[in-house]
């Protein structure tokens, strides 16, 4: 039992490393796996490892940032979804439950209308994502003490308001340039991370994930229900605020550079749960490994399958759906019947 678990961890780490190597190596300018590490060393330290400047430029300037962004975005979305499922005691919620995704989608669309381009989309998406979650909290607080049920309700209301506003922006947008940009942005993509390096988004994702990892055992107890969690000695309000803050930071950071990518936050935690069981102290990091691998692989497919890039959000669902059906069959529902 113990050694089998260890094997699963090793496999998950190996898959992530393999996925990273594939995504750096594959593309219009192929780089063999033997060239990748020397190129990175040469590019970062300047010490010559005998690699051609073109290879170094492609690997370090182009593919490595995108792969790292993919790892961070995938891990952030999976961790946030996992944490929210535990917090809301509901396996059907995902990272968007408090409105962060629809807020970010609206923010990005607004910036596209205001500046006729996607340059300002990441900061707008980030800020409006945070605003949406804050609004959900305000709605939940209207009825006195904040409960999980009121939070979900608040999130649903705020989400639908931001979705409506997004539709409004789409309706008034110029259909040839702006509308296309808005629609494309909302399908998700990692294509823009090469040009715009966003230390803020990376920091938000890292801080968010760290907060979630640190509160993993709190999430376990919170999923017992608020009363029981309080009686077990957890400061419920504070613990919940930390989890929401962590998940929101991580998601807002991810969405701001990659657009709205659904599905990962919902399905990856379930895949991880089949493999490693429900204890969030193990489930959260395992979900992050799976989410990162999944996103990096799907992104590689997106940019290599056809001449033009396929939006990420489309591919995650197209590949994730059938794979999840397979897992459901394989694990016979995994204790969910």
């Amino acid at each position: 039992m113990k050694s089998r678990n260890k094997l699963k961890w090793l496999a998950a780490i190996a898959i992530l490393l393999g996925a990273a190597l594939i995504s750096i190596g594959v593309g219009r300018y192929p780089v063999t796996s033997m060239e990748i590490v020397p190129s990175i060393v040469q590019g970062l330290t300047g010490y010559s490892m005998g690699m051609s400047p073109e290879t170094v430029a492609i690997v370090v300037g182009n593919r490595l940032p995108r792969t790292i962004a993919g790892i961070l975005v995938g891990a952030s979305l999976a961790a946030s979804g996992c944490a929210f499922q535990g917090l809301f005691r509901n396996p059907l919620v995902s990272q968007g439950v408090l409105g962060v995704s629809s807020g970010a989608g609206f923010g990005a669309a607004l910036s596209i209308l205001l500046f006729s381009g996607t340059v300002m989309a990441p900061p707008f998406a980030f800020v409006f994502g945070l605003c949406a979650v804050w609004l959900s909290f305000c709605v939940a607080r209207l009825c006195g003490q904040v409960t999980v049920l009121m939070l979900v309700l608040g999130g649903t209301i705020v989400s639908s308001i931001f979705s409506a506003l997004l539709s409004l922006l789409k309706y008034v947008a110029d259909p040839y340039n702006q509308l296309a940009s808005i629609v494309f942005w909302n399908m998700g993509s990692l294509a823009s991370v090469e040009s715009v390096v966003l230390p803020a988004a990376v920091a938000a994702m890292l801080v968010g994930m760290l907060l979630l990892l640190c509160s993993a055992s709190w999430i376990n107890v919170l999923s017992m229900g608020e009363g029981e969690a309080a009686s077990l000695g957890i400061p419920v309000q504070r613990a919940r605020a930390v989890v929401v803050a962590g998940a929101t930071l991580a998601t807002a950071g991810a969405v701001s550079i990659a657009g709205t990518i659904g599905w990962i936050g919902l399905i990856i935690p379930h895949m991880a749960r089949f493999l490693i069981k429900s204890d969030n102290r193990r489930l959260l990091p395992f979900s992050m490994l799976l989410g990162a691998s999944f996103l990096v692989l799907v992104d590689t497919l997106c940019r290599t399958l056809t001449g033009a890039e396929i939006p990420l959000g489309i591919m995650t669902s197209l590949i994730g759906g059938p794979f999840f059906i397979y897992l459901l069959r394989r694990y016979k529902g995994g204790g969910w019947q």
Partner: protein
Amino acid sequence: MNAVEVQELSFSYRHHPVFSQVSFQVNPGEIFCLVGPNGCGKSTLLRCILGHLQPQAGEIRIGGKLLGEYNAPALADQLAYVPQSHTRAFPFRTVDVVAMGQIRKGGLFSSQKDQTRRAMTVLEQLHLVHLAETEYTSLSGGELQMVLLARALCQDSATLVLDEPAAHLDLGRTHDLLAVLRSIAGEQGKTILLSTHDCNHALQLEDSGAAVRMALMEQGRLSPGDTPLALLRSDCMKQLYGMESCVVTVPDAGGRHFLATWREGERT
């Protein structure tokens, strides 16, 4: 100093009063049984004492200190809770659920091993070791109730608050429950506050040597605490449930038993 002291407590949901001006105290090392018909407010009273609900008036002291003065971990040192019902959201391992009783003691980098070891000890004590690795979503209702009891015991608090702990238990498990309650009250000096529908539990606990007091709850009022025998008088029970009853001593069955007579159409 009383383990739990409640004074003039009143609670209502919106405009629906549940109980008013309820006062009682539970002494350290004592087993205090709340008895009353369905919906009389036993669970609500317990949840006020646990701090889950905010009463509109009155005062609750735990171990001599006002309830509001405790932070969450300190209150968990005082009170452990076995809920009447529990919604299982995720398939945790049983031993992990029990180990949650120790969560307040775990820092960020503390070892899980100590918590798991303590959980296993408690599971052994309750004859539940065979369930340790099972997903707790697959347990039966009675097994779940025992696991929640185990979690509360694992918490090692001064007072145990149990809301109808025997509701789903079979005969053997009910015996295990009562035996554990008697032993932690008698040998470890823990205080126990429980609500129950089975008046026999109070008699059996007292017959086995525990210090037992009881109070009857009816229509938002609580009777003064007294010995089980004093409160299980037929006139009290007639008023509470509208049924005739008696307490009989059956030497072959190990002591006193509370019996309600069952005649058709007679409940008033």
